[in-house]
Structure formats: C-alpha cells, structure tokens
Symmetry: C2
C-alpha cells in the first residue's frame, strides 16, 4: 500500500478552512434569501431517493472546494477500486465486494459472481419453500416462525430489513436473537412452538461466542420438545463458511449457505445473511431489495461528483467533523418501521470508520467517525430534540421521510410528515430574542416577565439537516437507502484515509473475556488483573452463593 | 432568581484545569499500580447499587478539587432545595417534587403528599383489579392486554420499567404506542382482541398531538369491534390533569388518575404514569420499585459528598465535558431487559440539560449536556465498540451489570458478565505497539508483516468507564437505578447552572408543524416558507396523487 496524502495536506484543505470561517457566522435563511435556486441546486436524486441538502452550512464555493478535496484525494479511482475488486481492505489483503452480491452482471469478477449466482439460487429455493409454507418440521407441522441467531452484521441488517418491510410480510414471522444474555433467546422461545419453528444460525466463522451459545440452547430446546437429533435438519439452517463446525453442531452441508471473506459482516445483508428477510417477504421482493441497492451502486459508480449522492453526504460529514467540531451525526427516520435504522447505521459507520490510524498505519491527527445516533420520529421530539434545538453541541441531522404510508391512515401520516418538515425548518430558522419576547407578550406575560423569560426561548438556529425523501418505503427504496449509507461510509473512510473494512479493535476484548470467564468459573492460574476487575470478579462469585 | 457564579468563576475550576493536564497523560494502570487501595477507595454503595469508578482519570487530588467545586457551587443547598419544595424549576416558577411520589413521609409537603397518597390508593385499586384479572370488557371477557398510549415521559419510563421487570410479570401483557406514525398503533392492535384490551391515555394536558391521534384511532377500533360508546369506560383510562378534555373524549373522571404540574414528564414514572407497570407486575412490586427509588433519595439527600453516588457520577460527567472535551456519554447495560435504558436516559439527560442559557438567562460559554447513547451488551461489542476502543473520540462509559440472572441459565449469564468486565478492562489497558507486534508474531506473521500490521492493532487504552453492579435486577434495584440517574442529572444541571426541569426548545417545532400541516392538507394563507420546505411540501402533495 503506497502512502497517501492525508487530508490536511491536500490543497483544497486550506480553502475549506477559510470557507468554514465565513460560513460559521452565515445565516442559512440568508443564504436562501440570496439565491432562489438554492433548494433546487442542492437537491439530487438517485434510485428513487431524493436528497435535499440545502439546509447545510455550504454555499457554491464551499461545495466546489469540497468536490476538489474529493478529487485531490483520488476518490474517483477509489470508487472504481471498490467495484473492480482491488484490495481496498488492505490490512486483510482482500477486496470488499458487497456490491457484487446485488449485481446483475459480474463484470470482471466472473468467478466470484458465479458463486454468488449459485448461492442465490439455493437461497431462493429455501426462502420460497419457507415463505410459501412448504417446509414442515419434525411433527409434520408447517414452519410458521423463523429465528435468526446471529450478532452484529449477522443480526442488525436482517433485523432492520425484516422490520422495515413489514407491510410486505407473508405468513412466516421472523424473530431475531443476538445477545448472549440468556433472556434474549428465552423470551423469544417463550412465544414459539418447537414443532413449527426453524432456526438460522448466522456466523461466518461458526465460532461467534454469543451465536453458538444461543444456537446450542435452541438445539436443546428443540430436543427437549421431542425432536430427535435426526429431526434437527428440518429445523436448523446455517449461514457460514465453516461447514465442518456446522456439521458438528448437527447442520448438514445441504442446510448451509455460504458467506465469503470478501464481504464484511456489516455489509452482508445482501448475501445469505439476508435469508430470514427473503423468507419474510418472499424472493421477488428480496430481489427488488437487491435491485434497489444495485441502482444506487450504478449511480455511485457512474455519476459525476457534484450529483453523486453518497459522495455529497460524505463530504458533508467530513466538513462538519473537520471544520465545525461536530462529534455527532443524528439520523431520524420519520417512519416507524425504520426505528432500528440508527442501530444498523451505528455498526456500519462506527465499526467501519471508528479508527485512529490510516490504512497505511500512521496515527491520524484529526478526528474520524463521529458518533451516530437517533430514533424514529416523532418520538425523539418529546425526548432529545431539546438538545438538538437548544443544546451546545452541533449535531447535523439526516431526516428520512417516505412521502406516503402503507397503512391507509392518511391524515395521521400527514401529521408525521408535517412534524418532520417542521423539525428540519425549526433547526434552521431558530428563534431570535426579539421573537421570543414577542411570543411571550402575546401569551399575556408582562414586559418584565417576558424580558426575563425570553432568553430561555431563544433558539440559535442555523443547525444543519438533510432530508431524504422517497415516494414510499418499499423493497427497492430500502435497498437504495442502505447502499447509500454504505457508500457514504466508504467515501468518508477513503477521505479520512482509513480502511473501512477491518475491525482490529474488537479482538482484544474477546481475549480478555476468555480469561475473565475462566476466573468467574473459579479457575485461577495465579495471575491477577487490575484491582477493580479482581474486586468485581470476587463480587460476582459472592453473588452466586 | 439571584445570579449565581458560573462554573469557570469558582476557585476550584483553575485547580481542576491543572489536574486535567496532569491526568491527561497519566496511565490508569499506573494509578492502580501506585495505590493498592484504589479500587476500594473509588467504590461507593447505595440502595443496593455499587459504583466502581476507579477506572476513571481521577486521583485523590482531582477528586478533592471536584468535591470542592460542588461545595463552591452550593450543591448541598441545591440538593436540599430539590426535596424541600423550592422552586428549582424557576422559569416555570414551580418545585420539582418527583421524589415526593416515592416518599413514605411527606415532610413539609403535607398537602401535596396527601394528594399523592390518595392518587396512589386509586391507582393501586385499578392496578390490582387489572393485574388479578378482575376487570372485564364490553363482552364480559377479562382484560388480558393493556396498551399505554403516551409519548416522551408518558411512554419511555413505563415502557422501560415494564420491560426491565419482565421476570416479575403477571398475566396481563402491556404494550406501548407513542409514534404518530399510524404503523405504531396498527401493528400493535393487529395482535390484540378489542374485547380483552384496555387503553391508558397518558397525557398531562390531554392535548399531545400524537397521543390524541392514537387515542382516537384506538377508540374507533374499539367501536368498530362492536363496543358501544357506553362500553368505552370499561376500556379506556386516562392519566391527565385535564378532566374536561378526557370527558369529551369519553373517559369519565372515575377513570382518570392525576398528574401534577410539579412533576415533569421525564420524572413521572413514579406517578400514575407508571400505571401500566403496576398492572404488569402487581402493586406489591410497584411499591418495591418506589421504595428502591426512595432509598436512593435518602442516600442522595443524606450522604456526604465524597460517598454520594449521584453526585460523584455528576462530577465525572462535568470533568470529562469541561476538561477532556467529551461530547458523548455511553451507557451499556449488560442485561437484555434494560435494552431501552439508553432511550430512557436520552430524554432524562438531554431534555433536562440540553440547554444553552443559565437558569437566570445568561448564554453559557461552556458545553452542557453531552449526547447520551448506548445499547444492551454484548450486542454493541459487535457494532460500535470498535469506535469506543480505537476511535478518536473520548466516550466515557457506564457499564450496568446485575450479578445474577433470573433465567436459570447460569453459564450463559457468566459469559455475559465476563464480557462486561472484559470491555471495561480493555478500555483501560489497551494494547501497546510492542504487544500488538508480539501478538501478530505469535499468530505466525513474519517480522515485516507484523511490523506493518501492528499499528492497526494498537489500542491507546486509558479510556474511562464506571461499572454499576447490583446483586440482581429487581423492582427495588431498578427504582434505585432510575433515581440515581435522575439525581446525577440534577447535580449536573445545577453545576452547569441550568434549569433541568423546563423544555422551551420543543415548542417552536410544534407551532411550525401546525402551519405545515395545514399546507400539506392544501390550505394556503399566501405566506411562504423557505424554498426547501416549500419544495418538500409540493413533493408531498404530488406523491398523494
């Protein structure tokens, strides 16, 4: 890997620092007033999504410098690299070809593409059988419930997609278990009948501690209900690369679907990791979900920078992080079925870009991934929006808004939409001291009280937000939305000079956990840890008595 | 309200800035090595909870200065003020007496206390009747499902408590609907039978847009199922101060439980807002929940500063925010039933302290409430922990850990505990370049590759965390835990000189939403908003065709 120029060394960086100074004190309302083409000029469309980024602290000059920064960082080539199989995951010496999982054409990746096509054919067969009620369990009952056991990328993606596509569900209910806390599995199983339940054990290595523990508990539950070990292959499927371990668990190769080392867990919902989703919504809709993502891929690969939606969103992320000290990014889907989207994006963005060295191993002197958080609107309005409007920390927001509802409840949906647009506008316009005082006088406060209270009603405004709209949330637009954030994450990683595809930061905790587990169980090799951990180990052992 | 000295003007502030410089480069492991009493000295207990804060960037000197800061800020008196009915909510000229809701003795607040006692007696009668299956609906069926319709404080608290106390549930299932998105209510109702379902409409004003919309839809569902309007009082309860509006909705006063203007929504789970919890777990356990909170109240009011758990947690929050630029605070409950705790805390902390002016109206020149986020462990370990360990942003963590499980699955619970302790320890110890290289050599990498990869495995360590343990999560410890964070929030608000009990930042959005709603529905008074909002209104109207 050749060393690459870091962001602050690129020529556009200094210009951006200057623009930031100018724009820090500019009024967004003023920018709208000065240019009546602003809303249109700062809106782009792709794959059924429309991004309005006009309520951001950018003008044409800043945007131009941001686009130059991307060019100077070689982002065009980096985007090509993602698709053409270059080893963009350099620390693990692999490509990151999640886009191939939704491609209708394998391009230069024919060998891998044929594997994907073959896996998809098997996945389709299984998904259709279960979706249509054509799969029966040990007692001859139709499988009505599917439990996906996985964690991280083997959980968050399929969980989100299944929930988001609820209006498209068939008869099978899909459930998700991830936590090693036994309550997670037990609460789920309490609602289910073993005879009509199937499990998908989702673990690339088939060694994930949480997943194996839950898988074994599920297996014991099935056997306790009267299934024989020979019956288990009617109830257990696996998505894994480790066929021997799956076989040892009791899942034959015929029940295993593959993963590949060139797809990271957090980019894997497009693979057989999405099997539960395909069972829930049927193959045709799962194919639409893939097609929506592919449409975004084509846009991302084929569009010029100034209309490239993922790239523009990434540049805004970089802009606020580098020049406005934003340490947060908020995502607020105004659609209840997307309530898990922030959880999904936390893994996508923070596991990908929560890193402190460049891909070539230099310690970075600037901030990388911000913390991403959020919740479904309108719930946050009655909770943390207070901080968004009047707190001291800059939190750029992405509002996500389907313009129609599947529920038929048009009037109530209209209230949802009104709230979304109002929050975005309110963040921008704020409320001046004068207006705050006027509002109080109108409510009947006297002059003195209005003057005293007014500072508390002031909202500084100029708080930036994007709105991403779509005509409806459906398999296609959902696929596009996920691919949009994947590519935004990749662009930001490339600009920060990070490898977005490894996760070295998670392994040490696993090692230390193994040591502590032995100690909790009473083993001791005579070594000691810090006094805090030692004290907590003792407290745990005392509590078991 | 007399003007109060702001934090940076207090004498201890300068000393703290000096300590922070020293401690910024200190190694936490070194602090443990230098003082073998550290773990014990930095652990405090109260109301069944144990806080180990020894893995923080503090030493005895820094802690002493922090305690001086609290003293100089007059915090002792401020704590007294909270309990004795002073108008700590000065902008609304009211006390904040949520502690009275769980007090076994009214002290100087006898009038209010008698109201609480009377309300609790009625609440108990209703809760016991429903909990024991003694309440029947329009067709004579026993009520088996209760739907709480509320938002913000009328939702997050009861939702959390009911979920957290799952092992203590009786026969009645409680459900929570808050979002104005019609999908929230419709998805819930799809599982329910009107004849055996009761609703609690939870809204202090009985004017909350989301709650009324959902309440009316629930009412229509009940009538459509065959209930008469006269039957509705068997199925609808309200928690509100607005009896006339409830009556107009069809809920007689006999079915209404009170709220009070001296309890904020986000502090109200202890009132009749917690009715659904009391129905789920029965009165005796709800009373234990209140008693757990009261035990924490007594600790908070009666303990000296250096053993005062809420105060110590608040001082750590202030410390990292002011002197280490921490803009985040992470809460990781290692208990699946507490998975909603971060959502609850987001409202508690960010709505209380996400403010930019002092309680006497001065614009603050320092940062106030950080962003609070998190998820149930171990799920985050496979997601955002990468950023906690190797990201560039300092995120102090609170781990919350019950030492026993209700599930009986002792081995799997032990894995959960091991993971929790391991994450806390890993954040502290990190991994040096040398150890990273050694680990790689041991795995079979050659010298060159180990040297190239090692920087990616480095973890800087010295990342602070607390661990809050309890013998088990039960009604009493849950009550103590919630009261702990309430008081931490109050202390931080007082130190920042904020009024933690108002929320002026949320009202403007409501006004603008009303205007936009009319526009979405086709009305126009000729006025226009910004071009972005106008464009989105048009897009919405186009999408309805």
């Amino acid at each position: 890997m050749t060393a690459r120029t870091l962001l602050p060394e690129l020529p556009a960086y200094a210009a951006l620092a200057e623009h930031a100074k100018t724009l820090a004190s500019a009024s967004l309302e003023g920018l709208f007033a000065a240019d009546n083409t602003r809303a249109r000029a700062f809106t782009v469309s792709a794959a059924g999504l429309h991004l309005d980024y006009s309520k951001h602290r950018v003008n044409a000059q800043a945007l131009s410098s941001l686009l130059q920064l991307a060019e100077q960082a070689g982002l065009g080539q980096r985007i090509e690299d993602l698709f053409n199989g270059a080893h963009v995951n350099n620390t693990e010496d692999r490509p990151a070809l999640h886009t191939l999982l939704r491609a209708s054409d394998g391009g230069a990746q024919q060998l891998r593409f044929q594997e994907v096509v073959a896996a998809k054919a098997r996945m389709r067969e299984i998904a259709e059988r279960l979706h249509c009620g054509g799969h029966t369990g040990y007692s001859g009952s139709t499988i009505t419930d599917v439990v996906n056991i996985g964690i991280g990328g083997s959980d968050l993606g399929p969980r989100l997609v299944t929930q988001a596509l609820k209006p498209f569900h068939g008869q099978v209910q899909c459930h998700y278990v991830s936590n090693v806390d036994p309550a997670d599995l037990l609460d789920t199983l309490a609602q289910l009948n073993p005879a009509s339940t199937a499990f998908i054990i989702c673990s690339k290595s088939f060694r994930t501690e949480e997943t194996l523990a839950n898988g074994l508990a599920a297996r014991a539950w099935m056997l306790a209900a009267g299934a024989s070990t020979a019956d288990l292959d009617k109830h257990f499927l696996a998505v894994t690369t480790n066929l021997p371990a799956a076989r040892e668990f009791g899942i034959p190769a015929a029940n295993c679907l593959p993963m590949w080392d060139w797809v990271g867990g957090r980019y894997s919902v497009w693979s057989a990791v999405g099997l539960s989703c395909a069972i829930a919504v049927g193959w045709e809709r799962f194919a639409q979900f893939l097609a929506g993502a592919e449409a975004m891929d084509r846009h991302f690969r084929g569009s010029e920078a100034h209309t490239n939606m993922p790239l523009l969103m990434s540049l805004l992320e970089i802009w606020y992080s580098l020049f406005f000290h934003a340490s947060n990014h908020v995502v607020l889907p105004y659609d209840h079925s997307l309530q898990r989207f922030p959880d999904y994006l936390q893994q996508l963005t923070m596991e990908s870009n929560g890193k402190r060295v460049s891909s070539d191993g230099r310690e970075l002197q600037y901030q990388t991934a911000p913390v991403l958080w959020g919740s479904a609107g309108t719930m946050g309005q009655h909770s943390f929006h207070q901080l968004l409007h009047q707190g001291t920390r800059l939190c750029p927001v992405d509002f996500i808004l389907p313009l129609t509802t599947h529920t038929g409840a048009v009037e109530q949906h209209r209230m949802l939409v009104a709230n979304c647009l109002a929050q975005s506008r309110t963040l921008m316009v704020g409320r001046s001291l004068e207006k705050a005082r006027a509002a109080l006088l109108q409510r009947g406060f006297d002059d003195d009280n209005a003057a005293t209270l007014a500072p508390h009603l002031v909202m500084p405004g100029n708080r930036p937000s994007s709105i991403i709209t779509m005509e409806s949330l459906n398999p296609g637009t959902l696929g596009a939305l996920l691919a949009l954030y994947e590519h935004r994450t990749y662009c930001s990683g490339q600009l920060w000079r990070i490898n977005s595809f490894d996760q070295w930061g998670v392994e040490l905790g696993k090692e230390i956990s193994t040591d502590i587990l032995a100690r909790l169980a009473g083993a001791s090799d005579g070594s000691t840890m810090d006094a805090s951990t030692e004290g907590l180990i003792s407290a745990f052992r005392d509590a078991q008595r």
